[in-house]
C-alpha cells in the first residue's frame, strides 16, 4: 500500500459511503497480520508491550465498495491506561468504526474474551476472528465455533492469519455485519447485589436525562460502578450521579467484602468460564509446549545466567548489525562521493556545483548512510521482540531499573539507544506512566551510539595506541554511569511522582516469520528515515551555506569559521579552545559522526593524515576530554527532533540545555583534574 494511497484515504475521512472496519484485540494475537492480509499494506507486528502504537489505516476494495481498515493498538479491556491503549479505547467508543473485528487468540481464550465481552456489552457490531487456530489445534484444543458464536451472539470466524486462512470469509462476514442494524447489547448477569445497584443507577440516569450518546443506560451504569475515569470525566456535569455511583460501590464493598470493580470483573469471567466450558474441549492435558516455554523462562531469567545470556544476545545483535552494514555503508558513501564528483564536474558554476555536490548530494548521502545500520538494527531487534525474548529481558532488568528509579520497561529503550538514540526515544511510548516515559526519554541521549564511536575510534587511535580498546570501553562505561546518574538526579529533583507498577505480559515463544520481521523493519526504518532525514538534510544544507559564505572565503573566515572562533574560548578550560574543535562540535550537532569529517576538512587533510594533525593540536588528556564532550554535549538533531515529537518543545530544549551543561562540566573536570594530577 503506497504512502500516496494511505494519504488519500486519510484525506477522505468524511466520505459517507465508506465502510470502516477496526481491528481490536489483545497484544500479540495477530491483529496486524490480519490487517496486512486484508489491506495488503505493510505494517508491523509488535510483540513487546505496545509496539503497534500508531493508529494504522489501510484500504481495500470488495465488490466495488471501498473499505477502510484501522489497526488499533492492543488492549486487554476497555479500562485503558497507557497512551496507546487509550487510542484504541477512544476509537472504539467513538463509534467511528462500522464493525469491530475482534481478533482473539484461540490458545488463550479466557483472557482474550474479556475484551470481547466488553465489546458485546457496548452493543457495537462485532465479528470475532478466532485466530492462531493452528497452534490451538497443536495444543489439543477443540473449539465448537458455531456454538461459541451462538452463545456470544456474534459471528465467529476461525482464522490462521500467518497462513492467510479464513481472510476472505472474515471480510465477507464483517461487511455483512456492517449492513445490520445496531445490535441490542448483550447483557451479563453480575449477581443479585450488583444488579440491584445497576438498576438504581439506571433509574437515576433516566431521571437526570443524562445524554447517552448512543450507549445504553446499563452500559453507562456499569462503567460508573466500575469507576471508569474517562466516563466519570465525561459525566462531570452530573455530580449527583457520580456520587450515587460511588455510594453504590461502597455499599457493595461493605456487603460482599470485594470492591465493585472486582465484582464486575468476576461477573465477566464467570460468564466467560461458562462459555468456554461449553465450547472448548482439551484433548490433551496441558501441552508439552507450555512446559517447555516455562523451562526456557527459568533459564533465561535465571539469577546467574540470565544477564550473561542477555548481554550475549545484545552483543550478537550489534555484531550482526555492524558486520553486515559496514560494506553497505561503504558502498553508499562511495556512491554518493562519486555522484558528488560527477555533479561538481558537470555543473559550470563553481559555487552552485559545490552546493549541489557537497550540500544537496552530501546532505542526502549523510542521511542515507544511516540506512543500512538502522534497518539491520531494527531487523535484529524485531527478531528478539517477535520471538518473545525481549519481554523476558525487560523482566530481568526490572530489578536493576527499579533500584535506579526507573521502570523495568525503561530498559528496552536504553538498550536500543546503544544502536541509535532516535528509535530509542520512539520506543519510550511503551511506558504507560508519563513520568516514567519522560524520565527514560531524557536519559536516552546519554547512551552512546555508533556515531559517537567514530569519534572515539579516531582519537583513541591517535593518542592511546595499544590501549585504545580500553579507552573506548571506558567511554561506554561512562555513558552508562552518566545515564543512570542523570536518571537518579532527575527522579529526585523533578519527577517525584508514583512509579507505575510493573505488570507485563510474557507472550508465548514463537518463531517469527521472515515476512513479519521484514515488514517490522521496513516500517520502523522508513519512518525514521522520513522524520529524521528531513531534519538532518535541512541542517546539512544550512551548515554548508554557513561554511561557504561569504563567497570566496573558506575555513576560518567563513560564517561558520567565525562562529567557531567566537565559541572557541568556551572550550578553552576543557582543553580544546581552538576554532577547529569548536566548528567540529558545531557540525556534530547535526550528526555526531560529522565531527570526524569536519576535523578533516578544517585541518585540510585526508583521513590518513588526520591523526597526525590531531596530535599537533591535542594532548592525550585534552583528547579524552574532547571524547567525553562528544559523548555528552548535545543530542544530535535527529534525536532532538524525536524528543520534540514525543514530549514537546519544552522538554527538547531542556534536554539540549542540560546536556550542554553536563558535557561542558564533565570535560572541564576531566581536563583540569587531569592537569592537577600531572597527567598533562
Amino acid at each position: 500500500m503506497s504512502g500516496a494511497i494511505l494519504q488519500a484515504v486519510k484525506n477522505e475521512m468524511g466520505r459517507p459511503a465508506q465502510v470502516v472496519l477496526a481491528l481490536a484485540g489483545n497484544p500479540n494475537v495477530g491483529k496486524t497480520c490480519v490487517f496486512n492480509n486484508l489491506t495488503g499494506a505493510r505494517q508491523y507486528v509488535g510483540n513487546w508491550p505496545g509496539v503497534t502504537v500508531e493508529k494504522k489505516e489501510g484500504e481495500l476494495f470488495h465488490a466495488g465498495e471501498q473499505v477502510r481498515v484501522v489497526d488499533l493498538p492492543g488492549i486487554y479491556g476497555l479500562g485503558a491506561h497507557a497512551v496507546d491503549e487509550l487510542i484504541a479505547r477512544d476509537f472504539i467508543l467513538s463509534g467511528a468504526a462500522d464493525v469491530i473485528i475482534n481478533v482473539v487468540d484461540a490458545t488463550n481464550l479466557e483472557r482474550n474474551l474479556y475484551l470481547t465481552v466488553q465489546l458485546m456489552e457496548m452493543g457495537t457490531r462485532v465479528v470475532v476472528a478466532l485466530n492462531i487456530m493452528d497452534e490451538a489445534a497443536a495444543k489439543g484444543l477443540k473449539i465448537d465455533v458455531p456454538k461459541l458464536g451462538a452463545l456470544l451472539g456474534v459471528p465467529v470466524v476461525p482464522t490462521v492469519a500467518t497462513k492467510k486462512q479464513g481472510m476472505a470469509e472474515l471480510l465477507t462476514v464483517a461487511l455483512r455485519q456492517a449492513r445490520e442494524e445496531k445490535k441490542r447489547e448483550r447483557v451479563i448477569y453480575y449477581g443479585k447485589e450488583v444488579e440491584e445497584e445497576l438498576s438504581r443507577l439506571e433509574a437515576l440516569i433516566g431521571e437526570q436525562g443524562v445524554p447517552l450518546e448512543g450507549f445504553s443506560s446499563r452500559w453507562v451504569a456499569v462503567k460508573l460502578l466500575e469507576g471508569d475515569k474517562q466516563v466519570e470525566r465525561q459525566l462531570s456535569a452530573y455530580p449527583a450521579l457520580l456520587e450515587a455511583a460511588r455510594k453504590g460501590a461502597a455499599r457493595l464493598e461493605k456487603l460482599t467484602g470485594e470492591d465493585a470493580e472486582t465484582l464486575i470483573a468476576e461477573g465477566r469471567y464467570g460468564f466467560i468460564a461458562g462459555l468456554v466450558k461449553e465450547t472448548v474441549t482439551r484433548q490433551r492435558p496441558v501441552a508439552e509446549k507450555a512446559v517447555l516455554s516455562d523451562k526456557i523462562d527459568r533459564v533465561v531469567t535465571h539469577r546467574v545466567l540470565g544477564i550473561p545470556i542477555f548481554f550475549g544476545a545484545m552483543w550478537a545483535v550489534f555484531k550482526f548489525t555492524f558486520w553486515l552494514s559496514e560494506p553497505l555503508v561503504g558502498y553508499t558513501e562511495s556512491f554518493f562521493a562519486w555522484l558528488g564528483a560527477v555533479a561538481a564536474k558537470v555543473i559550470p558554476h563553481d559555487l552552485l556545483a559545490s552546493f549541489v555536490s557537497e550540500g544537496l548530494i552530501g546532505g542526502v548521502g549523510s542521511v542515507l548512510v544511516f540506512v543500512p545500520p538502522i534497518f539491520l538494527l531494527f531487523l535484529a531487534l524485531s527478531f528478539l521482540e517477535d520471538s518473545g525474548y525481549m519481554a523476558r529481558a525487560a523482566y530481568l532488568m526490572d530489578r536493576l531499573m527499579h533500584a535506579l528509579g526507573l521502570h523495568g520497561k525503561s530498559f528496552i529503550p536504553l538498550v536500543v539507544g546503544f544502536g541509535c538514540n532516535v528509535p530509542a526515544i520512539m520506543a519510550t511510548r511503551t511506558l504507560e506512566n508519563r513520568r516514567d516515559r519522560l524520565l527514560t526519554l531524557l536519559i536516552v541521549p546519554f547512551i552512546t551510539c555508533p556515531a559517537r564511536l567514530s569519534v572515539y575510534v579516531l582519537f583513541a587511535g591517535a593518542f592511546f595506541g595499544a590501549r585504545q580498546g580500553l579507552v573506548v570501553f571506558s567511554l561506554y562505561f561512562l555513558s552508562i554511569v552518566f545515564a543512570l546518574l542523570a536518571g537518579l538526579f532527575l527522579k529526585t529533583l523533578l519527577f517525584k511522582g508514583e512509579q507505575a507498577p510493573f505488570v507485563m505480559e510474557l507472550p508465548p515463544y514463537r518463531l517469527p516469520t521472515l515476512r513479519g520481521m521484514l515488514i517490522h523493519m521496513w516500517n520502523r526504518g522508513s519512518s525514521f528515515i522520513r522524520k529524521a532525514g528531513t531534519v538532518i538534510f535541512g541542517v546539512v544544507v544550512i551548515v554548508w551555506l554557513l561554511a561557504h559564505l561569504p563567497p570566496g572565503t573558506a575555513a576560518e573566515q567563513s560564517f561558520i569559521g567565525r562562529l567557531g572562533q567566537a565559541i572557541a574560548p568556551i572550550y578553552a578550560p576543557c582543553g580544546f579552545g581552538t576554532w577547529e574543535a569548536a566548528v567540529a562540535l558545531l557540525f556534530g550537532i547535526l550528526a555526531k559522526e560529522s565531527v570526524v569529517g569536519t576535523l578533516g576538512t578544517v585541518y585540510g587533510v585526508e583521513e590518513a593524515g588526520l591523526k597526525t594533525a590531531l596530535q599537533h593540536h591535542f594532548t592525550p588528556l585534552s583528547a579524552y576530554a574532547f571524547m567525553v564532550m562528544t559523548l555528552l554535549y548535545i543530542p544530535c538533531v535527529a534525536t532532538v527532533a524525536a524528543i520534540k515529537r514525543e514530549a514537546g518543545w519544552r522538554w527538547a530544549i531542556f534536554a539540549v540545555a542540560y546536556a550542554l551543561a553536563i558535557g561542558w562540566v564533565a570535560a572541564f573536570l576531566i581536563y583540569q583534574g587531569g592537569r592537577l594530577l600531572g597527567l598533562g
Binding site: E261, T262, A265, V503, E505
Partner: protein
C-alpha cells in the same frame, strides 16, 4: 487455610486468588489480565527479589514484587 501474598509462593506452587487489593490503575489492568478472585495461578519464577513470573491460565505474566505482595492467594497444597 493458607492465605498469603502471592509474592511468597515458591516456584512451582499454585494458589487460588483471594483478593487483588487496591483500587484504580493496576487493579483494572490485573483484572483484564485475568486476576480475579477464584482464578488459579502458578508461580513459574520467584527469586524473592524483583518481579515474579506467573502462569495464569494459558498466559504468562511478569508481576512487580510490590504488586505481588498486594495479591492474596490461598495456596494449593500437594
Amino acid at each position: 487455610m493458607k492465605v498469603l501474598p502471592l509474592g511468597m509462593l515458591q516456584p512451582g506452587e499454585e494458589g487460588v486468588v483471594k483478593d487483588v487489593g487496591g483500587r484504580g490503575g493496576p487493579h483494572c489492568r490485573l483484572a483484564a489480565l485475568g486476576f480475579v478472585p477464584g482464578k488459579k495461578v502458578r508461580v513459574v519464577q520467584n527469586q524473592f527479589c524483583g518481579p515474579l513470573i506467573i502462569a495464569l491460565g494459558d498466559g504468562r505474566l511478569a508481576l512487580g514484587r510490590g504488586l505481588a505482595h498486594k495479591i492474596l492467594v490461598e495456596r494449593i497444597d500437594g
